[in-house]
Amino acid sequence: MNPTATVTDSFLERAPLLVRDAVTGFLPEPARWLANSLVTIIAVLAIFGLLFAFLTLAERKILGHVQNRPGPNRTGWFGLLQPFADGIKMLTKEDIVPRAADRLLHFLAPVTLLALSILTFAVIPYGRHLVPVELDSAVLYFFAAGAATELAIFMAGWASHNKYALLAAMRALAQLISYELPLLLSFVPVILATGTLSTTGIVAAQAGWKWHVVPHWIVFTPWGAAGFVIFMVSALAESNRSPFDLPEAESELIAGHLTEYSGFKYALFFMAEYFGMCALSGMAVTLFLGGWQAPLPVLEFIPSYVWFAAKLLTLLLGFIWIRATLPRLRIDQLTRLAWKFLVPLALVNLGTAAFWSLTSDWSVTLQLLRWAVALVLVAGPFVLLGRGLTAGLGPRTYRYA
């Protein structure tokens, strides 16, 4: 046993498991396995449900303060009860289904979307001992479940029997399909470097510190940093967040494919969007930010799930900050950014990562050369493609508007 084992297996580290065993401990073996799974599912749903509720509140508060207004402050202390008031309002609101709508699909669309986005929570390692499901190809599972959400969005747009909803759903699909490519390409280098598709394996590969200070997280390599940025930009677009919130663009498109949805079905769409955002952020933490690993050896006494939560919340606050800062893109800018900028960058990044892993045994002096080459490989295409992206494209003039 090494000395860190006492830290890593401390009481706090195992507290969630001890609580679970205290609940299910008295059951016989086969039923116990089932009960353990149920407890895990309930815990994940409860934690992320509450996170969703307070994330909406935090978003409204932060956006309010950014825009120099107080935000919700009437319900409860500092508006803390606002999410629950919203929930009651959504539940009691009339559920309107258009007469010509495809009633079954209109009902199934939000349910499918929410179910698929909850499925993605299953493979994220929340802590050292906290992985709901361990799969050999967990990353593939995560993105397979995420890719199927596009069908649900299409169902929503088509079942509403509203041409604006259908058009908006097609726009949303164009965006989601475009950004799926850089999203998938951006983490391929991580798979290349760690040699595994399992999320626990990827987190384990990022353990340890260089010179006892710099963690071995993937984001601290040149290609890792580039991949992380590409992943986060694509994640913003995949979860329909500003500045890529064109699919629902409430001021221009009357909420797009959600036009004909009201009441709790609308709330379910909202919930699925936030769950998707949380899941993608959790995956970004796992793939690039070292998962539940502590940033410094002396900080290892803090349990791993606290570190995961801290990183996750940082990324989520970043999402909110970006929403408060950037204006919305136009649809042609959006697709151009994906196809002409992010996809080539992600492909070049794959080459950079290959170079990085081939030169890992270079000597100390050659390490400088290795860093220089990798940085040029990251920055060069960025500058060149960025220039090409805007070349000859002045502000668009609308002759008929």
């Binding site: 699909l105 190809s137 596009e150 069908l151 097609m170 699909l173 399909i177 609308y398």
Partner: protein, 171 residues
């Protein structure tokens, strides 16, 4: 275990039949996506995790989108079910194509030696799968890639067919 297999098979075949019998093309596409999911569940039952997730990612995530876009771009009205199935030439070519596919599949099944002894399923890791795909099965992978590229270019040619000059296209 066999009950799961039978349920999966019934579900897969049932959704496939419903997809063929339905008059609403959009419902057929969604049922087809369900069929593909059923195939993925079958892979999971057989212990092939990677194949199952790849099936969902590629078929339910991507191919169903292509089919949806094709349906939406080629139909004129909401209840237009495409060409009339009564056209004789069309029916004949459909039967020939189906018979050809069935012949190839039957030939492949009859020619491959099937182990009769119950053997433990080999535990294949993703790494081994990748090495196989990049090694002995690389030509097949390349051929599939070329096929998809050809299909994509064909789709672009079809979609870009009759474009009249839109004033807003040229700022």
């Amino acid at each position: 275990m066999n009950a799961i297999l039978i349920l999966t098979a019934l579900g897969t075949i049932g959704t496939a039949i419903a997809a063929m019998a339905g008059r609403n093309l959009l419902h057929s596409v969604l049922l087809l996506a369900l069929t593909w999911t059923g195939v993925a569940v079958f892979y999971l039952w057989a212990g092939a995790e990677f194949a199952a997730f790849a099936q969902v990612l590629v078929y339910v995530g991507a191919i169903s989108m292509v089919v949806l876009f094709a349906v939406l771009l080629t139909r004129r009205s909401r209840d237009d079910a495409g060409s009339s199935p009564a056209a004789q030439g069309r029916a004949l070519s459909a039967i020939i194509a189906a018979a050809a596919v069935a012949g190839v599949l039957l030939g492949a099944i009859l020619c491959s030696p099937l182990a009769t002894l119950p053997r433990p399923a080999p535990a294949v890791s993703v790494r081994q799968l990748g090495e196989e795909l990049m090694g002995s099965y690389a030509p097949a992978l390349l051929v599939v890639g070329v096929l998809l590229t050809v299909a994509l270019i064909g789709a672009v040619v079809l979609a870009a067919g009759d474009r009249t000059g839109q004033p807003e296209d040229n700022p």
